[in-house]
């Protein structure tokens, strides 16, 4: 089962009418590095037109720029990162990150790792894992460019994280996913339901593993850039029913997630998740979890 018609039909059944989308380019100011520097002002002086993203504290849309915003001195000095607006949401959902021990389980290429370090003010520790050595190279470059000092990186599959023997206060699960058509113009041609199901299975394995290393009062933020419910609501429903987790109310951009998916009734608490349909941002799904109390 594949093809645009098939997937668009599924989105319709979830309550969204398909329309083409072109996510806007966005940047995020790295507050930890800009002490006294007016980054936005400097970019504007260079001719970059910016607009504040209303649902993000440090995010700006790039309205117009005659050159790549990844080729400015300000970027190279780590004053800002190029990060899609929806992708800036997950790290902001944790409560109180200062001095915490944080796991970024699928960290490469590192945009969210840098954001976590920024929100932590370089305090505490981030343990960043990924299975892809090449992508980890990109992550390490980002850490150096953005002057991150609190992170340790392992080439390790998140499904083996318990081997580290560590317990975490906060866990970011930006899990590998099928992606979405707004971020990949060939998405409908390339993806099948089988891909989606394979990714969903991998995501469940990762979820099940990280629960073992979550402290009793810890928090997990689960995120995908997939629109497919198998990787989102259905996985969270499964986690709530089998892993002893519960969802937590979050206040962020996006729609309440559906609790009835393709005829299947899900746990009512799944509504706490947020689903972002493509538009100004790419498609996204985010959810906050903790151990059931």
């Amino acid at each position: 089962m594949l093809g645009k018609e098939f997937f668009v039909g599924r989105y319709r059944r979830l309550g969204w009418e398909f329309r083409e989308a072109s996510p806007r380019q966005a940047i995020r100011v790295n507050v930890m590095n800009v002490d006294g520097v007016d980054v936005v002002g400097r970019l504007r002086n260079l001719g970059v037109e910016l607009e504040k993203v209303p649902f993000l504290q440090n995010g700006y849309w790039v309205v117009r720029s005659d050159f790549s915003v990844g080729a400015t001195v300000e970027y190279l000095l780590g004053y800002y990162s190029i990060q899609e607006a929806a992708a800036q949401i997950p790290a902001t959902l944790f409560t109180d990150l200062k001095d915490k021990t944080v796991l970024d389980a699928c960290a490469a290429p590192g945009g969210k790792t840098v954001q976590l370090a920024d929100l932590m003010g370089n305090t505490g520790v981030i343990v960043a894992l990924d299975v892809n050595g090449r992508r980890l190279k990109a992550l390490m470059n980002q850490l150096e460019r953005c002057r991150v000092r609190n992170t340790v990186v392992y080439l390790l599959d998140a499904r083996r994280v318990s081997e580290l023997g560590l317990k975490f206060d906060r866990i970011l699960l930006d899990v590998p996913c099928s992606g979405n058509f707004a971020a990949d113009e060939n998405w409908f041609r390339r993806r099948t339901l089988r891909d989606v199901e394979r990714n969903a299975k991998l995501q469940r394995q990762i979820l099940a593993e990280v629960v073992k290393v979550l402290k009793d009062d810890g928090e997990i933020v689960y995120a995908t850039c997939s629109l497919e419910p198998e990787e989102n609501e259905l996985n969270i429903d499964w986690a709530v029913k089998t892993l002893g987790l519960e969802t937590v109310e979050i206040d962020c951009y996006g729609e309440e997630a559906p609790t009835k998916v393709f005829g299947k009734k899900l746990d009512e608490s799944v509504r706490c998740c947020r689903r972002i349909w493509p538009g100004e941002t790419q498609g996204f799904f985010v959810c906050k979890l903790r151990k059931r109390r």
Binding site: G70, L76, M140, N141, E144, R149, N150, V153, Y154, L155
Partner: protein, 176 residues
Amino acid sequence: MSANSESEGEKLAETEIIERFARLFGAKLLLDGSLVAKRGKRYFLLNQKLKGLTEKYGGWIYAGTYLGKVGRGEVFHPSFQLLFMIADKAKNRIVIDDKTAWLFVCGRDIFKEGILKIEGSRRKGDYTLVFNKHGECLGYGLIVTNLDLLQSGLAVKNLLDIGDFLRRERQAFQEA
């Protein structure tokens, strides 16, 4: 020498290679050797929490503040994080104008005409940090002509600039 003092000796040597690099710019850098970790040929500065963690759970590939690596011929290649650490302490520094700054970041050498200010050594063969007019360190270079005598032309050879991040990204993209 006991195993313990041998490892203390190694630690001293590890700190020394970095502190010696800082001295090239007239900067005095005092690192706590117990917090400097070596991974392969790369050096990292840890905090206490990271130190405990990396000692307990080996196999890490990057930790804390990346300081640089030793390359061919045992030459030390600094990280930008190290350059930023010594930027405030360095005596040898030049400030360059906007156009020169952009060219420098693109990998070009510095001509005397683009230099706004020189502090510390002006002597041929010495090293100097390079700053833009905002006081931001963009990299470092080698003074190739006595700057007091030079009226115009090539003054500082580019040895490392922050545009390296872009070049690395491009390389990674090509490899992918």
